[in-house]
C-alpha cells in the first residue's frame, strides 16, 4: 500500500489504500459534523461558505473558514513535502510519516474532546482546524503516492469520475478497457468505504463519543503496520532466497 510509488502501484495496492483511508475519512467527517457542525474532510463547501460569509460581511466567520481552508492546504503541502524529500532515502518512512502525524492529530482531538472539551467556540474552531489538517495530510499522501488516482476525501471529483465512467461504459470499446474497469473498481471502493465509515462513526459515536477518533487512528495504524509487516516478510523471504543461492553456489564449487 505505502511502499510503491506512482506507476509501480498495482490495482490491489490502490484499492487497499483507498478503501482504508476513505473509511477513516468518512468516520472523521461524520463525527465532526455531529459534534462540531462542520465538515472536515472536504473543502468545497468551505469555499462556498467563505464566499457567503464575505458577502454577508461576517468577517469573523469568514476568517475562521479561511483558516480552515489554509489548514487543509497545509496538510496537503506537508505530506507531499515529506514524500518528495524523503522518498529516495527511505520510501516506507517517507510514506508512513505523514500518516503518523495524522494519527497524532486525531489522537489529540479524541483525547482533548473526551477529557477536556468544554464546548466553547474557540475549542471547536481549533479542533476542526486540526482535523482539516489531518485530512489534508491524508488526501495529499494518497493522491501523491498513487499518481493522483486516489483522493479519499474528494468525493465531488470521485462522483464526477463515476458519472463519466458510467456513461463511457454504455459503449463496448470502453467496457473492454481494463484500465477503465480498474478505475471503476477503485472509485466504487472509495465511495463505499467512505459511506461505510460515516455510517459506522454515526452509530458508534452515540456509544463511545470522542473515542471514535481512536478507532479512526486504529484504521490508519493498520495501514502503517500492515506495510511494516509486509516489508519485514519480503525482506525475510529475500534473505532466505539469497542464502539458498549462496549455499547452492558454494556446494557446486
Amino acid at each position: 500500500m505505502l511502499r510503491k510509488f506512482n506507476n509501480h502501484r498495482t490495482l490491489k495496492d490502490n484499492i487497499q489504500l483507498g478503501g482504508l483511508t476513505a473509511f477513516s475519512a468518512g468516520m472523521v467527517n461524520v463525527t465532526s459534523l455531529i459534534i462540531f457542525f462542520a465538515f472536515t474532510s472536504n473543502v468545497t463547501g468551505h469555499y462556498a461558505i467563505l464566499a457567503e460569509e464575505i458577502a454577508k460581511g461576517n468577517w469573523y466567520e469568514a476568517i475562521i473558514v479561511f483558516g480552515w481552508i489554509f489548514m487543509f492546504f497545509f496538510g496537503n503541502f506537508f505530506s507531499n513535502f515529506i514524500v518528495i524529500n524523503f522518498d529516495r532515502t527511505n520510501r516506507y518512512l517517507a510514506h508512513s510519516l505523514p500518516l503518523f502525524v495524522e494519527i497524532l492529530c486525531l489522537l489529540a482531538v479524541g483525547t482533548y474532546g473526551q477529557f477536556y472539551y468544554a464546548e466553547t467556540l474557540s475549542e471547536t474552531e481549533l479542533m476542526v482546524g486540526l482535523m482539516l489538517f489531518a485530512m489534508g495530510i491524508q488526501n495529499g499522501l494518497t493522491a501523491s503516492i498513487s499518481n493522483f488516482s486516489i483522493k479519499t476525501t474528494h468525493l465531488t471529483g470521485l462522483t464526477t469520475d463515476i458519472g463519466i465512467l458510467a456513461s463511457m461504459f454504455t459503449q463496448k470499446r470502453y467496457r473492454q478497457k481494463k484500465s477503465l474497469r480498474d478505475k471503476k473498481n477503485i472509485l466504487l471502493t472509495i465511495a463505499f468505504s467512505y459511506l461505510s465509515g460515516g455510517i459506522f462513526a454515526g452509530i458508534v459515536y452515540l456509544k463511545i463519543g470522542f473515542m471514535v477518533f481512536y478507532v479512526a487512528c486504529l484504521v490508519i495504524g493498520t495501514i502503517i503496520f500492515y506495510e511494516y509487516y509486509k516489508l519485514k516478510v519480503t525482506k525475510m523471504i529475500h534473505t532466505k532466497r539469497m542464502g539458498k543461492r549462496l549455499r547452492a553456489a558454494i556446494s557446486s564449487e
Binding site: L33, Y60, I63, L121, S122
Partner: protein, 160 residues
C-alpha cells in the same frame, strides 16, 4: 540564487498567512462576545411553505414541523458571559446554558434535563439576531426567529 528566492518566498508565505490570520481575527467581532446582552424576540415565522400556492401552514403541519422542538415565542433571551442564558416570558424565567458551534453559526441551548436545542445563527449584529431552527447544514431551516437587542439603548428597547 533562484532556489534561495523560492525558500524566502515560502517562508514569507507560511509566516505571513498565520500572522495575517491572527491579526484579522484579533480585529473582528467574535460572535461569542456579540451575542452577550438581552434580546427581545420580535418575529417567529415559517420561512418556507410546502407549495408555492399555499402560503399558510395548517395547524397539523405546524405541529409536525415543531414536533419534539421547544417553542419560544415572544420571549426575551438574556445571554450572560458565563455561558448561561435566561429566557423570560410573562414574568416566568428559565435558565439554560448556551454555546456556539461550527464557525460560530450554530447556537446550542442546553436544558437542565440534558436536552438541547440547535439553531442556525443566520445573522448577528449590534441590533439584530436572526435564528433558524436547525434542521440540516446546507439548507435554510423552516422556522425563523428574529430578535432585537434591548439592553443597548433603553429608548430603542421601548420602541420595539
Amino acid at each position: 540564487m533562484e532556489k534561495r528566492t523560492y525558500i524566502v518566498r515560502y517562508i514569507l508565505f507560511f509566516m505571513g498567512v498565520p500572522l495575517l490570520f491572527i491579526f484579522l481575527l484579533a480585529n473582528s467581532n467574535n460572535p461569542d462576545a456579540s451575542i452577550i446582552g438581552e434580546w427581545k424576540e420580535v418575529e417567529w415565522k415559517y420561512e418556507k411553505t410546502p407549495s408555492r400556492d399555499k402560503r399558510e401552514l395548517t395547524e397539523g403541519e405546524k405541529k409536525s414541523i415543531t414536533k419534539g422542538l421547544y417553542i419560544h415565542e415572544a420571549e426575551t433571551w438574556k445571554f450572560l458571559p458565563n455561558g448561561r442564558v435566561i429566557l423570560s416570558k410573562d414574568g416566568k424565567e428559565e435558565e439554560l446554558g448556551w454555546t456556539l458551534k461550527g464557525r460560530g453559526h450554530i447556537l446550542k441551548l442546553y436544558h437542565l434535563s440534558d436536552q438541547s436545542e440547535h439553531y442556525n445563527l443566520y445573522n448577528l449584529n449590534e441590533n439584530e439576531m436572526v435564528l433558524y431552527f436547525h434542521t440540516e447544514l446546507h439548507a435554510k431551516s423552516i422556522v425563523k426567529l428574529k430578535f432585537k437587542k434591548i439592553d443597548k439603548d433603553p429608548e430603542y428597547a421601548q420602541k420595539i
